[in-house]
Symmetry: C2
Subunit: 402 residues, 2 copies
DNA sequence: GCACTTCGGCAACAGCGTTGCGAAAGTAGG
DNA sequence: CCTACTTTCGCAACGCTGTTGCCGAAGTGC
């Protein structure tokens, strides 16, 4: 029944209960990174179990029958029955009514039991810490906010650890069996794999701080850190659903006080060799153009934000569109999503402006399928925190990410 | 003993001999595209077998012992013994001497039997067709060249099919049991999945032609088509070896009569949603700059080639570097490789110029690890054809690509 | 010649998905 | 109400996977 968080992705919490979600989160058995990648039977089971869980989640409250699961996964109905029986025994799935009959025994509908697992997502912003408690569905079942006073010199990163820990403990007792861990999203470059911060924008004193391990020690649960744009992109990827296990790819472009991006390729966040991918803002689109804060010239961020400051929203959108077109051409993604405060101030203008650039590009190329669509990213101010929670939830459903 | 080519990736060739390489090439069991992605025992075996084959290939003539294979894959020695026994029975692997003893029984060294499988790689260029016959190691064991007279209007794509078929048949009888198939690399946009050409540069009359299926029908063996830059990048990825199963990522930038790129992420070629990724040349780095042939303005290709035409190699390299820096920032890749005739004309200048831009970027970022290295792509004029052969060989070793 | 170390295959095993088959639970028709 | 049919789904046996326990094979070192 219990959902022990295992000891995979961070410091464990002592001997957990029966093998639960944690054991599932491991594998992938796929072409991921890592050394060996040899797959054994446990890996096989974990992979298929995660696949089934992902479909159950995608089905939502409506549920999904065993035979549908079999069709979608390519597994035999009997294999699905075994897997779902295990999930029901673990409390992760449950029967939920039955479909209308088509002339025979009606299909039994299965659904995910969202309460079987939880994760905390924390959004550390410039002046605020926002934490949400999400269940397996990603539904927010608790929220807390608090100011962040770490701006002053001398106020080290420990202050942030303490503030984040306070918010987390206020949301969920760390001994709760269903707590998978805590995901923390914050701006600026950092190393996702090691959990070490690098020159986070606005907080120079955090350079080199090992936030993940410090917070994991403090809270006693697994912790994952990532860039805010990656968290937002992950949240959007989950929200989209993507065929259940699809190869969905899109770029989330965030225009706020800065300009960043989160890339989703094959259903998972693409982080790159040093987990620094997605640096969209300092893409040069105007050789020898106006200087940017980063020291280079003609960056998208500098051009776009300058246009915004001048009140020329159309020009800002055109610049953003040029950067997006470069990105689309290089990666051949399917969708561009726009978000952030600046976009929210004039959503239609930005969507139209970026769309126009991509449409012109598609016309020139003449490729079948038409232009890559541009849409406003759904979700409100809480979406980064929700995405941060998905940093822990997604692996349960086989969305390890790159 | 025989290595039937199975019937996976294209029209089969009738009932093959014993299950061989073809059966291995299928799976991945991973996070690839496709619908189901449910993994069964066959998928598991194929995955692990491909992994072992990849390590055997990477070990080269020196070979590798069973225990080393076990360490590298994470499998138990006994599992490796079973897998290698199967491979030896199929003729894909063989014992090759033994290591020096370390106080006990010396390890038996295993090696790949390259002659157990072959693939033909064809490079269709503007005025020439070049075909190579490669064994499992990728070693070229046969080569043919012939002129291509398809430029004239009216000369349809069938002429090319016939010319390619003639070269292939001259190299390898299509009934040879060890022939896995034919890979064809050609310039310009095309759909890798369906094998349909789109406006191949220089051959407008090929628009919409289903080259893959036409050639497969003509030859009776599986055919795969891809962009020339992707083929070259795949060849480079294989040549690098990459830890055996590593997450190697790099960009191959080709500067010839045009400017293209092949992206390797996670050891496989990244092709994107519509298999059109890697369009590096028409990345805009000079908003409202000089017009490009593509109809846009300020593309890298236009700027770079114009600088080359003016004799300003340094400026050309700087422009290329700016594009490469954008790419590195977006994807966080580990390496940039340069190739093509234009680069070959002044290799040091290009490598130095691109390096300088990336070094400056790394200095600004201040990230650990230093700048992304820039190197000249190894291999000569034959490398695209060799890479095209890898389109068939790579899947045998689990390098499906994205 | 003996003790020791290390490699690698044989045999038994647990666990995976698969297949064959039958019980359960509906609809359709008398 | 009863029967015939369809469809779902679980039990049991099966083949195959990697794993474990064990032992012979083949070296080194004393």
């Amino acid at each position: 029944m219990g959902v022990g968080a295992g000891g995979d992705a961070g410091p464990g919490r002592g001997p957990g209960a029966s093998p639960g979600v944690g054991a599932v989160a491991r594998v992938g058995a796929g072409a991921g990174a890592g050394a060996g990648a040899g797959a054994n039977l446990l890996a096989l089971r974990s992979h298929n179990t995660a696949l089934v869980l992902d479909l159950l989640r995608g089905a939502g409250a409506g549920g999904i029958s065993r035979l549908e699961l079999a069709e979608r996964t390519g597994l035999t109905p009997q294999a699905v029955s075994k897997i779902t029986a295990r999930l029901r025994a673990q409390g992760l799935a449950a029967e939920a009514g039955r479909r209308a009959s088509t002339g025979g025994k009606p299909r039994t509908v299965l659904r995910l039991v969202p309460e079987a697992g939880h994760a905390v997502g924390v959004h550390v912003d410039r002046d605020e810490v926002r934490a949400v408690l999400a269940d397996l569905n990603g539904t927010v079942v608790g929220e807390r906010r608090g100011p962040l006073h770490a701006g002053g010199p001398g106020a080290g990163a420990e202050v942030v650890v303490e503030e984040v820990a306070r918010q987390v403990e206020g949301l969920a007792p760390p001994v709760a069996e269903s707590l998978l861990g805590v995901g923390v999203a914050l701006p600026g470059p950092l190393d996702h794999r090691s959990g070490v911060l690098h020159r986070v924008t606005g907080f120079p004193q955090w350079e080199g701080f090992g936030l993940r391990d410090a917070l994991a020690r403090r809270l006693g649960v697994p912790v994952v850190v990532d860039k805010d744009t990656n968290a937002a992109a992950l949240g959007l990827a989950v929200a989209r659903g993507d065929d259940g296990g699809g190869a969905g790819s899109f770029a989330y472009l965030h225009v706020g006080t800065g300009l960043g991006a989160g890339l989703v390729i094959g259903g998972g966040v693409h982080r790159g060799a040093r987990t620094g991918a997605g640096e969209f803002g300092h893409q040069v689109i105007q050789l020898d153009g106006p200087p940017c804060e980063c020291g280079d010239r003609g960056c998208v961020e500098a051009l776009c934000l300058a246009a915004v400051a001048r009140g020329e929203t159309e020009e800002a959108a055109r610049v953003l569109g040029a950067g997006a077109a470069n990105l689309v051409g290089l990666l051949d993604i399917e969708l561009v999503l726009l978000g952030g405060r600046t976009v929210a101030a004039a959503p239609d203008a930005f969507v139209a402006g970026v769309s126009a650039v991509l449409a012109a590009r598609a016309r020139r190329e003449g490729l079948p399928g038409g232009a890559v669509p541009v849409r406003l990213a759904p979700g409100g101010e809480r979406s980064v925190a929700e995405g941060a929670a998905q940093l822990l939830l997604a692996p349960v459903f086989g969305r390890g990410g790159g």
